[in-house]
Chain length 366, copies 2
């Protein structure tokens, strides 16, 4: 058994304090809920956190009184606010010693709340920060990897239960219903993003959802979905053929499968996100389909289904050991269809471990 | 058949221009995606819109090229941006005549993007606005009411299919799976919020999700869920007993049902949100359970599952005719359980029409 998540909070708070010190900041206002969860253990939907040199203050409302007591680390001081969480901040922050310059999360603070800082919080100096907590979250510890592996296992179990039920005549939405029920049966806490079930020409739209189209024999069927376990996400895509595949479907699927294999086999920690992206992109381009792979290769997964690091053309930063990323090359041809094969991969100091195990070959369903 | 949603966009854009004129603004930068959808018809997940005196500019990325062409109103000029949507704004806005003062949505603009306005958009005067589009959205037209009624019908059909399958021994998550599959079978485009399936003592937590608890004979089971149709949401809660209810369960359920009946029967357009809330709250308080009804009576539903207007103690504004709101009184007793009964109600000039029809009496399942 891994330790409960909140056991890791004191070490994470120490890392945040170290990062603040290097930026000449005394404290950090945390408004991103996944960052709140990472630092305190609290999984509710309404919270503000201030990490100070000696304390970590968490403000939430009465609806979460029971939950917050069960979830948060003893390193965190909880305040249940009867009115506004901001009122709590302005009431408690003056008593925190040594707090003058306070960072806030520029990517997670709305303008209306930024205006509060300037008006009601004018006794402090506010400084925008980016990625302070996100950079820590990019490197998973053993407990986080175990949670992601659990979420991968749930998604794979649901996929295995769904495949035998797929057939022409179902709508995309009915397929989503079969899959989502299987995810719940396998224990998923929820759905990390709206399931994509895209058939025939719809599969050429990288951001299709699940619509009213009726599956036809001869279609490609692209299914992109995930599970949630202990708050952590998995993200998986397979593309199958309904009935015997034709030669073009087989050929295109083989190109994507080989791109996936090269990227999963070649990716390493310390490689840049751009170089990782190129492992798949260069192969697809050499096969003549470069224009048809219009999105990036992948992204980190964890408490959010899209988080750091990015595997993309513009990503120069080295990938950290301990990151868990998706590898999801695809080819999309308007009017014909699309193919994507997505796995979840853990980067280690010595290589890469593919967490997803369901077959990647082209399944031809009957 | 109602007209397709984008047919209503020119009238909505005219209303926005009228509101801007009254605030001495020339244009509005729209960063809320539901507001983008309301004004342009576009339902994708990446867009910026600028409403100018003579045009409405929509910026999105290549992934949505097909979708945006199918969805948007001819009153909108679409720009597919190869790089950043913001780059598109800075490239196109200078050509728009008569644009000097531009409003932005203070509740839907992140600090990092506000910083862009000040840096890259320094040739315009930026002014925070609140609720410009939200105030229009609070009043539904006939097509919107029809979409909400469709979403209510889907949710009710799913509920009717689920009830006969409920029994002790299932986990809350399995119940969620049965219900969510039924929602898909009935045609739901997705889930407007994570389903709440809370049994026994869990039902006392107003924001429980669906966990691993196994349903027991004698439990109360609270189920809060919704459907999506044509982008519009429904939101429905019923609380049932697993096996014969005991006298306390019956008594408490009757209090909540009567509070629901009084509020649904007494609510009127032009009443304040506070007075509507009091219709249920005063009755629950007079029954001795005032402390146990800790949340507000309801909220508007539409493109979002929580939108204007609010039915709550602090809501002084009159409720507009044409609003569709939830009415969801509840009683929650820690350690014992909770009961909530939630309906969706359309406010008209002459009264209120309850859209939800599934029985509100206490069902005792076997």
């Amino acid at each position: 058994m891994s330790a409960p998540p909140s056991d890791r909070c004191p070490a994470r708070l120490a890392q945040v304090r170290g990062a603040l010190g290097r930026s000449d900041l005394d404290a950090l206002l945390v408004t991103s809920l996944p960052n709140v969860r990472y630092l305190t253990g609290f999984a509710g939907s309404n919270a503000l956190v201030v990490v100070t040199p000696l304390d970590c203050l968490l403000f939430t409302d009465f609806r979460y009184a029971t939950q917050v007591a069960a979830e948060v680390s003893p390193a965190v001081t909880v305040h249940i606010e009867p009115a506004s969480l901001w009122k709590g901040v302005w009431g408690r922050l003056p008593a925190c010693a040594g707090v003058a310059r306070v960072g806030f999360e520029s990517a997670h603070l709305l303008h209306q709340d930024f205006a509060r800082l300037l008006e009601q919080g004018s006794r402090w100096q506010w400084r925008p920060t980016t990625d302070v907590v996100e950079a820590l979250r990019a490197v998973k510890d053993a407990g986080e990897v175990a949670a992601i592996e659990k979420a991968v296992g749930i998604a794979e179990s649901a996929w295995r239960a769904t495949v035998p039920q797929l057939h022409a005549g179902l709508t995309e939405r009915q397929v989503a219903g079969i899959l989502e029920r299987a995810l719940r049966e396998a224990g998923s806490e929820g759905f990390p993003f709206p399931s994509i079930v895209a058939s025939g020409p719809q599969s050429a739209l990288p951001h299709a959802r699940a619509g009213e189209r009726v599956l036809q024999r001869g279609d490609l069927l692209l299914v992109d979905f995930g599970a949630v376990a202990d708050g952590y996400c998995s993200d998986l895509t397979r593309t199958v053929a309904l009935g015997p595949a034709d030669s073009r479907q087989r050929e295109m699927h083989a190109v994507v499968a080989e791109a996936n294999r090269r990227a999963s086999g070649g990716i390493r920690a310390e490689m840049s996100g751009k170089d990782a992206d190129a492992l798949a992109r260069d192969y697809i381009a050499s096969s003549g389909w470069g224009e048809a792979f219009g999105h990036s290769l992948g992204h980190g997964i964890g408490l959010e289904v899209h988080e750091a690091p990015r595997l993309a053309r513009g990503a120069d930063a080295p990938l950290p050991a301990g990151a868990v990323v998706t590898i999801e090359p695809g080819i999309y041809i308007p009017g014909w269809g699309g193919i994507r094969i997505e796995d979840d991969v853990l980067l280690t100091a010595t290589g890469a471990r593919v967490l997803t195990t369901v077959p990647r070959g082209l399944m031809e369903l009957h």
